[in-house]
Symmetry: C2
Subunit: 395 residues, 2 copies
Amino acid sequence: MNKRGIAILGSTGSIGVNTLRVVDAFRDDFTVVALAAGRNVRKLAEQCARYQPELVSVETEECAAELRAELARANVAAPPRLLHGEAGLVEVATHAGASCVVSATVGAVGFVPTLRALEAGKRVALANKETLVMAGELMTRAAEASGAELLPVDSEHNALHQCLRGERRAEVRRLVLTASGGPFRTKTHGEMERATVAEAMRHPTWEMGAKITIDSATLMNKGLEVVEARWLFGFEADQIDVLVHPESIVHSMIELVDGSVIAQLGVTDMRHAIQYALTYPERHPCQLPALDLTQMSALHFDAPDTERFPCLALAYRALRAGGTTPAALNAANETAVAAFLEERIRLTDIPRVIEHVLDGHESRPVTDLDAVLETDRAARLSASEEINALVSVIG
Amino acid sequence: MNKRGIAILGSTGSIGVNTLRVVDAFRDDFTVVALAAGRNVRKLAEQCARYQPELVSVETEECAAELRAELARANVAAPPRLLHGEAGLVEVATHAGASCVVSATVGAVGFVPTLRALEAGKRVALANKETLVMAGELMTRAAEASGAELLPVDSEHNALHQCLRGERRAEVRRLVLTASGGPFRTKTHGEMERATVAEAMRHPTWEMGAKITIDSATLMNKGLEVVEARWLFGFEADQIDVLVHPESIVHSMIELVDGSVIAQLGVTDMRHAIQYALTYPERHPCQLPALDLTQMSALHFDAPDTERFPCLALAYRALRAGGTTPAALNAANETAVAAFLEERIRLTDIPRVIEHVLDGHESRPVTDLDAVLETDRAARLSASEEINALVSVIG
């Protein structure tokens, strides 16, 4: 078979790095044609030397200059074409040699490039869940129009994709996303109120970036996943449930109309989901250690507590409101999480900020990109104002 | 849609009764055309009155006479045609009005009728696992030749069938059958040696007939299921594993070559698997309570202990030997279980009897029915001799 060309948006992040490890394992199947990253110039330079992509993009012009110097210093043969900013990201996402684009930037920055990749008919291996939360309707419409495939890379949706393989849509009663419950699963509201950034960053089962780790601590990550599932699989909010499963072994499940439940299980290594998205519909033999259930003490399942984790309820509220509301939810959450990471607000302030934004947001239909981007801007502004108000009170 | 005609071999047993409850729930989809039972004439008479099958068969001529009298007494309108013995069972299994035959007799008696149903191109919903253990090669060959479908009704294989729906055979690394572990899961060898029939009949999660409940206590049930899985799904012994799972919620699972595991979960109600086998490839909405994982304390998984449960290892030995050896295993087991239920031997004598029979058995290819039936006879004789020897020692 011809090698499949891969482009990666966010190549120096955890999904990006793991995608390259999957490529390492299947050098006969895949070749890296384009990479985009933010400001981690050193790591990107190493990736350029090793994978020799034809095109590379970074966040700023300064980073591009640094990278150019780094590559010259390292004497990299055949240095890539260098771009920067959103235009660069879009170029990477639509590179003619890429049949599969791994969309793994964090937050809203991946939105436009991912849309362009879908419009260009690329398979998109999607790790950037904000993309579907902001504009699931636009994304799925673009994919339908071009025939592009949208393959989820986060473990829960990847699990749902696997569970749904042999089933007819009309015979599926509901989707059940599992949630580890995060580091505060067994903590009181008071403990969460006093939580430091370091405590919130201690995820029990998965090692991930900062934003998604905080989202896991508030359960907003699961809320965003509920919205994402709605767009990936076409089910309504009432048909998407969340179950807390601290061991993160059952990655998600579906319930059929006849009462049968199909679950996907695996070790907590994101390379599995990445590999699945790259090789689908085939499954390639994987040398990683397989799941050994006899080594687990037990698997537990609990209903989520939306009193202590109001972010989950806020996500359902936004999904039910529809239109631009999930985009407002996402922007408010990104802004609030950034403020928490800067130690400006408390963990428990995050849902307050989001609720404030949702209360003030008037939902509009997602007719085009501008409607989404305008919502995103307005929600960030509203969130910042609320954060400043909270800070002045705490201050 | 036209109603699908159902014939049931073993209509008064637990699978038979539950099949009729499924028919009750879908009277627009299914109609009962023929029933066969053993000696439970009273229950069979009730079933005749309620479902008005066209044909009924019982074990003996005397039972047929009793049933005729019972039906006359109850004034059943349009009494069915009455047959008896193996010829009667075969007539029920090949009834022209039946498109689906539920094969749910206990032990070797269902063997020939099930083969005839497959030869006649009927869908066979198979609960009688001895059938495949005795002559999986003949059965699957007959099904292939006629185009008959073989749908497993026991929960484990039904689960595997569901897990395999969306997958390519070559991409499946192994099948994993779950086992409750039975009532002696946590008991010592000494306690098992002294076990009474009543203790062995106390199955922790499933309510079933006597033979299969004892098989669950010795783990021979799982051994027979390993052989059954080999024929139903075409995997070799090395690709079929067993995992003890005391809660019986995960009914079985498959591991793919990429390390992913797909599992089927459900409540322990055999109507689910029966319904699946009757409605496949469709899934019909089911009103039974769905699985609620939040109500479970936890799910556990352990490797089986073949020291305390040698029957499991004996089944693998028979499967690897191939040919007529599994038929010898099955006959020896049936004979030994009967002797245990009659309190002639101890529970721990069952594997001894089987081992004795396997040691003396010379495997032959399963060329035809006679090879199997001859093996069955010889193994029963050898088992009886060993049982008599054990009894005289204990005596």
